[in-house]
């Protein structure tokens, strides 16, 4: 069997979902049951638990006292909460802006070069093999102003207050996250680029298009799916990202890196305010939902467009 590329002449056909006729509908329902059951038992039920807890002022060990919206008011009027929200969005967006172009370029490059490709691909992948905690520990030592990288390379300008200055700490966090995940997205783009048929480039070359033009007119549009997948994973992932930032900065200095997930953990497990932590939890779920709807809307539009651009 050959996997078939769609050469579709009728655009309207694209927009129709493939619906199975008649009787097959009921049988399809069964297929969703395993996932649904798992999800309900171990994800949805706890989510309800979180919602319930958000209306309490439980401290984790005593009696659970219902206080109506008190925890909600407390959290929503705390400027720290909004700071955390803002930080979370900043991390999400800047992460995307930093990681996507770099991964795109690197992925394209590795896909093309024949000789060094294998060698580079292996090395590039290494950060992914390390756990988040491990990476954070390694960088914490490396960034020490007296015993870290700056001392090692004898480069005094590297001895900045990386983890102590609020702005620098934020930059450091973005950098280390990028260090960890660019390999993954590079891999995705590498796979995506290798699917692009050679003829397209040759045709463009014949038409006189230069490198850059080819990149933007062929490579990028053809990678639409990959970009959407990669971006979805990146954005949703950074929303609940916790381990690395926690080990690296614990949300500090001050509140400079206290994104929502950290804020939630600190409120719940350090300040022992499970009610307030649950409020943040609900906020995260809502933000995730909104985010997905936005992505879905963008993805829906692009589905039609890219199909037409294919051969």
């Amino acid at each position: 069997m050959a996997a078939l590329a769609p050469l579709v002449e009728d655009r309207t056909q694209l927009l129709e979902r493939g619906r199975a006729p008649g009787g097959a509908k009921s049988r399809l329902g069964i297929l969703v049951v395993p996932a649904l059951l798992m999800f309900l038992a171990f994800a949805f039920l706890p989510l309800i638990g979180v919602l319930v807890l958000s209306f309490t002022d439980w401290d984790g060990i005593g009696d659970i006292g219902f206080v109506g919206g008190q925890s909600w008011v407390e959290v929503l009027t705390d400027p720290g909460t909004w700071h955390a929200v803002w930080l979370t969005f900043a991390v999400m967006i800047i992460t995307w802006l930093v990681q996507t172009p770099i991964s795109l370029l690197l992925g394209t490059f590795i896909a093309g070069q024949q000789r060094y490709r294998a060698f580079l691909a292996v090395l590039f992948f290494l950060p992914l093999l390390m756990s988040s905690a491990a990476i954070a520990i390694a960088f914490k030592s490396l960034l020490d102003p007296n015993f870290g990288l700056s001392a090692g390379l004898h480069l005094p300008f590297l001895a900045q207050d990386w983890l102590g200055d609020p702005t620098l700490a934020f930059v450091t966090v973005i950098f280390v996250i990028a260090w960890q995940f660019i390999p993954f997205h590079t891999l995705l783009y590498q796979g995506g680029v290798r699917q692009i048929p050679e003829q397209m480039y040759e045709a463009a070359q014949i038409d006189g298009a230069g490198r850059v033009r080819q990149f933007f007119s062929i490579t990028v549009p053809q990678l639409k799916y990959t970009i959407i997948t990669s971006s979805t994973l990146m954005l949703v992932g950074s929303l609940v990202y916790f381990d690395l930032i926690w080990v690296l900065t614990q949300g500090g200095p001050g509140n400079a890196t206290r994104i929502l997930a950290l804020d939630m953990y600190i409120r719940g497990f350090q300040a022992n305010q499970m009610g307030a932590a649950s409020v943040i939890g609900v906020i995260l779920v809502v933000v995730g939902l909104v985010l997905t709807l936005i992505i879905q809307r963008l993805a829906g539009r692009d589905l039609a467009a890219s199909q037409m651009e294919g051969m």
Binding site: M1, A3, D59, G60, I61, G62, D63, K140, S141, L143, D144, P145, N146, F147, A159, Q160, D161, W162, L163, G164, D165, P166, T249, G252, P253, G254, N255, I266, F269, Q270, A271, N272, Q273
Partner: protein, 451 residues
């Protein structure tokens, strides 16, 4: 590329099989941490009628080995067995709280006393040991008196001291002082003078692991006490309104910020993490002259920089502040660690736990082990044994410090309630970063006073 019938079946079979296999390997669990696990139950030696208790404690040498040895030795006495599990510090705090909250705590709960113990006591999760201690006076009297403070809530005792005492000590690099021709600081004025001296020599006056905020907190703990006496923090602890607006608070914060502005702390101190031991390293590599830290770093430095410790390390108490009301012999730090007994444990488990207290906790073997490892166990019997240790001068210094202190202030982040402690560390961080003024600090902390 059709998947043929057979290979699809194979694939599905494989998938299901591996999942089930993983499941089968793993599914046999227990119904909670309070039940001793199957594979890990302690061997029952001696009397079969004695019960079993569970214990949670912290990882990290040397205390982990000493604890394990003491539990093994106790198990041989026939009064019961104890199953001990070790956890790392920070994760442990999250884990124990979850377990206690679900009514699934181990019999013996490791803790630091203070605010968290209070929350357990208020929720009825730990037993009141006051009457039992009354009945076992000999046991109670073996301890250094000041160590009971952190375990006492509203005049009732809810925990038993178990390890070494860890006051905060001023360490200094003797070699650097000789080179500068200076003396260790006795007063705060000396401190500010030394800052100029050492900066002039290109050496950081004080090392500080500012990224771990509790290290900065130590400075304020001492300053509050030296300037205003223990009453200042006692008022805060008692949640008196506006307790943070005490003039001693403002003066302490001001002094600390003066020190920061005068470059008293190592450059980039807010990036230096105490948990990578980078702050100690500054001291023993000769990059900083002094370090205010806990007694525990002595043991750490001994294992990584033995030569420095034996010939170049000096130590003393925190300097006085001119015009200050606090007794210069007062000390701050961690009095020790504690074990509490979970109120949800069975009678049998509690009996074993109490037997461990009287017969396993501070046997001579245990006391010797602590002393050999460079720590001062909190029992009076240690006093005579210190001289035999290779670290005798330091241990004697620590023992005297704790024994003679009219007041031993527990670390604030342990003494206060967790919610207050979290805000406190945050604000201290801002203070040292010069992002807020002392007045703003006081206002922010006043807002945390629990009505």
């Amino acid at each position: 590329m059709t998947i043929s019938r057979t290979s699809r079946r194979t694939f599905l079979g494989l998938a299901a099989g591996s999942a089930l296999g993983a499941f089968g390997l793993s599914a046999c669990g227990t119904s909670g941490p309070a039940q001793p696990g199957g594979a890990a139950s302690a061997p029952a030696t001696g009397g079969g009628a004695a019960g079993a208790a569970t214990m949670w404690a912290l990882t990290g040498e040397p205390n982990e080995k000493i604890r394990k040895d003491s539990v093994d030795a106790f198990s041989k006495l026939g009064k019961g067995t104890i199953e001990v599990t070790f956890f790392q510090n920070d994760p442990y705090k999250a884990k124990i709280r979850t377990a206690v909250g679900a009514g699934q705590a181990p019999t013996l709960i490791f803790g630091w006393g203070g605010g968290i113990l209070k929350s357990y006591a208020d929720a009825g999760q730990v037993d009141d040991l006051t009457s039992w201690l009354g009945e076992n006076a000999a046991f109670k009297n073996q301890y250094i008196a000041s160590t009971w403070g952190a375990a006492t809530i509203d005049d009732k005792i809810f925990a038993v001291p178990i390890q070494t005492t860890q006051p905060i000590v001023m360490y200094y690099n003797k070699t650097l002082f000789e080179k500068a021709g200076a003396q260790p600081p006795a007063t705060w004025d000396d401190v500010m003078n030394l800052v100029n001296v050492f900066n002039g020599q290109g050496v950081a006056p004080f090392s500080l692991g500012g990224q771990s905020k509790w290290t900065s907190m130590m400075w304020l703990e001492y300053l509050f006490d030296r300037i205003g006496g223990p009453e200042v923090f006692n008022a805060i602890y008692a949640n008196k309104p506006n307790a943070w607006s005490d003039p001693a608070v403002i003066e302490s914060c001001t002094k600390v910020q003066e020190l920061v502005k005068a470059n008293g702390f190592a450059k980039g101190f807010s990036s230096i993490a105490a948990d990578t031991n980078a702050d100690q390293a500054l001291l023993f590599t000769g990059k900083a002259a002094m370090l205010l830290q806990g007694a525990w770093v002595y043991g750490g430095m001994k294992s990584t920089a033995a030569k420095f410790v034996s010939s170049g390390l000096g130590y003393g108490n925190f300097p006085t502040v001119p015009g200050g009301k606090g007794d210069p012999k007062n000390t701050v730090g961690n009095p020790t660690n504690y074990f509490s007994i979970s109120s949800k444990a069975t009678e049998e488990e509690k009996t074993v736990a109490k037997a461990y207290f009287t017969d396993g906790l501070f046997t001579d073997a245990v006391v010797d082990a602590f002393i050999q490892s460079g720590g001062v166990p909190v029992v009076k019997s240690a006093a005579s044994k210190l001289a035999s240790s290779p670290d005798a001068p330091f241990l004697q210094f620590v023992y005297d410090m704790v024994d003679q202190a009219p007041n031993f202030q527990q670390s604030w982040d342990q003494a206060l309630s967790p919610a207050q402690a979290e805000k406190l560390l945050n604000n201290i961080d801002q203070l040292f970063l010069l992002k807020i003024t002392p007045e703003q600090f006081a206002d922010a902390m006043n807002a945390t006073i629990e009505a």
